[in-house]
Symmetry: D2
Subunit: 294 residues, 4 copies
Amino acid sequence: MQLGLVGLGKMGFNMRDRLRKGGHEVIGYDPRPEVSDVPDLAGLARTAPRAVWVMVPSGDITNETIVGLSEVLSEGDLVIDGGNSRYTEDQPHAALLAEKKIGFIDAGVSGGIWGLTEGYGLMVGGSDEDVEKVMPIFDTLRPAGPREDGFVHAGPVGAGHFAKMVHNGVEYAMMTAYGEGYEMLAAEDLIKSPQEVYQAWTNGTVVRSWLQTLLAKALKEDPQLAEIRGYTDDSGEGRWTVEEAIRLRVPVPAIAASLFARFLSRQDDSPTMKAVAALRNQFGGHAVKRISEG
Amino acid sequence: MQLGLVGLGKMGFNMRDRLRKGGHEVIGYDPRPEVSDVPDLAGLARTAPRAVWVMVPSGDITNETIVGLSEVLSEGDLVIDGGNSRYTEDQPHAALLAEKKIGFIDAGVSGGIWGLTEGYGLMVGGSDEDVEKVMPIFDTLRPAGPREDGFVHAGPVGAGHFAKMVHNGVEYAMMTAYGEGYEMLAAEDLIKSPQEVYQAWTNGTVVRSWLQTLLAKALKEDPQLAEIRGYTDDSGEGRWTVEEAIRLRVPVPAIAASLFARFLSRQDDSPTMKAVAALRNQFGGHAVKRISEG
Amino acid sequence: MQLGLVGLGKMGFNMRDRLRKGGHEVIGYDPRPEVSDVPDLAGLARTAPRAVWVMVPSGDITNETIVGLSEVLSEGDLVIDGGNSRYTEDQPHAALLAEKKIGFIDAGVSGGIWGLTEGYGLMVGGSDEDVEKVMPIFDTLRPAGPREDGFVHAGPVGAGHFAKMVHNGVEYAMMTAYGEGYEMLAAEDLIKSPQEVYQAWTNGTVVRSWLQTLLAKALKEDPQLAEIRGYTDDSGEGRWTVEEAIRLRVPVPAIAASLFARFLSRQDDSPTMKAVAALRNQFGGHAVKRISEG
Amino acid sequence: MQLGLVGLGKMGFNMRDRLRKGGHEVIGYDPRPEVSDVPDLAGLARTAPRAVWVMVPSGDITNETIVGLSEVLSEGDLVIDGGNSRYTEDQPHAALLAEKKIGFIDAGVSGGIWGLTEGYGLMVGGSDEDVEKVMPIFDTLRPAGPREDGFVHAGPVGAGHFAKMVHNGVEYAMMTAYGEGYEMLAAEDLIKSPQEVYQAWTNGTVVRSWLQTLLAKALKEDPQLAEIRGYTDDSGEGRWTVEEAIRLRVPVPAIAASLFARFLSRQDDSPTMKAVAALRNQFGGHAVKRISEG
């Protein structure tokens, strides 16, 4: 089928490829003319009813794009937000588009740069009718195999991004789990090579996973991770997951610990621990390391 | 090759099967005559040099078994402890056997009841010479594919069980990660079916894994987990992992949180929270729930 | 000075008392006629410029009260929100009142039921001019001693409630700390009486505090806490603290752990741990406790 | 009464002072002749039955001191270990001394450098008879006021150090709580001065405490803690608390988080987070900070 695709960055570019290989006609728009198929949003789709997939950074840019599409699309068309929008933004976007009888689907997309070849895990929210309309697109994007193993219509508008947000929260905690395991292996003299252990975990063990295999690969490339700093960004979903957990009164100690570890990784020194060091000095006369000592 | 195997429980029984299918001659001993091949430890191995795999509960029973074997084996023989012994027990066991010039290997074995068909992930510690002797056994037990993907000679005696202990610590944290994700999906009204989301995560997503697929399977069997209580035992490795992390000064917040969650799952009520409730009552006049109110 | 006081619950009632003993003329309003001095908000203050202290539950009731006051007060008057409002609500309230040139102060008040006799810790936000106007009130409410030891003008509108929110977050973590200590003492056979240890900590130790003394008192009344359930509510501020920490990228593992412990205390069974138990059953054949087994 | 005192470091030196001011005859021994009253352990006590207080670093030095004392003391004498020994070492020490019918008491001592003037919080373990013998010493060391507010005979040998260990675990978590609060205040632009807020918390608030007042003092001396690094040692008790919590199956998330924060404060970069950064790079093409980029 025909699909407009806004945003040809790392993810959108690959998705256009995968969809075209799957036989779809994809018209991509990106502000960078060298990758864009058309000069503007208005050029995105020619055959009504039109479907446009938005794959741009969450927040203001997604918002502006959807407002822009509401101006060029018309009744019966459909917008799919495949970016990492916070699920609370979906209902307002759906309402905006509904004023012009344009449909809306939120689609959480997982798989990173590997999705091009392996397919993308998809979690979508929206009406049955809207989802049905673009099922051929979902079927091409998702991995081969049974539909229910890589695609879920998780619920009404918002459910797709909510499921994706939780997915990323789980991902944070898994990564921390593997990181803690690596650090312990690296700290223990008995272990000849943490890298070889991680390689051996890729098959047969209880902890094997796609991420685990990737860490084994990373360790093969740089067994001491000597070239990599622990500085780690967080992209919104992890923070939102903890915020939503609080709203839902769900205890998420492992996910929260993972989020806080990322915050810490970006601090030169921890103000909390400066206060602790100052306290110890006050009551116990414990030596503190002073900045002026270098 | 010929192998004596002590312990024909859930794990040992399956391993005997897999080894026999792989063409080895396995002589199994278990105190339960209905599964045992021989009446006692002395009957375990006929052809010198003998190799005996110990697959019994860690702690006293493993210890008694190794002492028993030191009495019936002789110079040039080899004992492999495939159970979940704490790695600190390996060196004493090796030393005991070395007095009689009997070799020792510690082998961490992962894979659970699925190892019979899929192969077991193996992490072993010992001398190159000893490991070489029983490599045919390891090659049959481990999954098909490259040796380094399911087997590692992690270091000297103790390294195998250390690696397995860390493996289980990581496993604890992964399970908590998936558990937290499930709880959030189940708490949010937008999500039609947490089970379907978990099913959809099994392919294409970043969080997919063997454990993740198992949770999807468990949720298919009982979508609300209505029949299962949260009460969860812990088996030693999780506790040891945190203890060793403390020794190594490695921060393991996600693993520790997972361990504490298991402790909590076995408490009728939390004494910590009883104290917190009592405190709130003292300073704020906040109502407390009294036992006598039912 | 003259002060109107809206809300004569546990906190407001005591504050009226303390202020009157301090020589102020307090006109209290409460929907319950038996405690109210006047029949309605309009009766609250007679002498211009008027100052009205709002001491009602945060959220809708505070909001309605401030809207109501904006209708009966006039230019040059002043509203102080002494309740536990989220600090993000302060600026909108200030703006609403500013339309009529009514001033606004947010005042975090700590001390619970003990404030009546010991004085209340006060953290306020607002303009220098507004704060100066009601300093006589603050000076009576705060504990005896130097003003800076029990009162802070923390910054512009919002700063008072922000400081109070953080105060309560810290309080959560302190309570958990004492709770964990109690649980450990209670679990160890060597310790004859956790209550006596807590009593002994009230003087001379590094951990002594007002809260610590209260826990010693609670344990004296019920040494096993046998009559108290761990079920613990949380009032907003703890949740907000973690949410704001996330916004500010501040790692707060101890406060978050304390918040999650409260969530857990209110669950009959943990869905996270049900998932973990289900997983263990899947891969290891570990027994699970089934509901049907009772 | 007469007391031998081994160890005249920061703690022992002050304790000798406080005891002498209390009218006791204290004979101090320290390897540094400039502070020592006698040249060796044998000179410590002249009047039988003798009591000797050991106030030296825990571990080997305490052990050697107690072995040394067992050689110069005799039947009916008494040794008090006032250092921060792990409680599991107390029973072996008691047994060693019991061979010569010398009594043993373990005494946890809290208060730091402030104990000299304010008195020391004391938690002791031992027999009623032994504790009775040196009660005059305990009564002088502990703060003025009721005995039970600064002294506890917590149980048999070991109970004193166990209670002190838990005390220090609680102390770790309280310090983290105050540290997290400070960091949040410092991160929020609305807050004019975190130092002033901490000062205002010293009176009337729920979170006020001796430690809290010390942090206010530290912040007064250096409001930004600009001169202090977060690097923080840990002294054994915090690690032991978590280890014993694991043995007792007591969940201690706040104490464990505090311990891990100290470990982290001493790392140049976190291997866990290096692994997480490496993983993100593998699956998402997320940029990592490379060491070679500086």
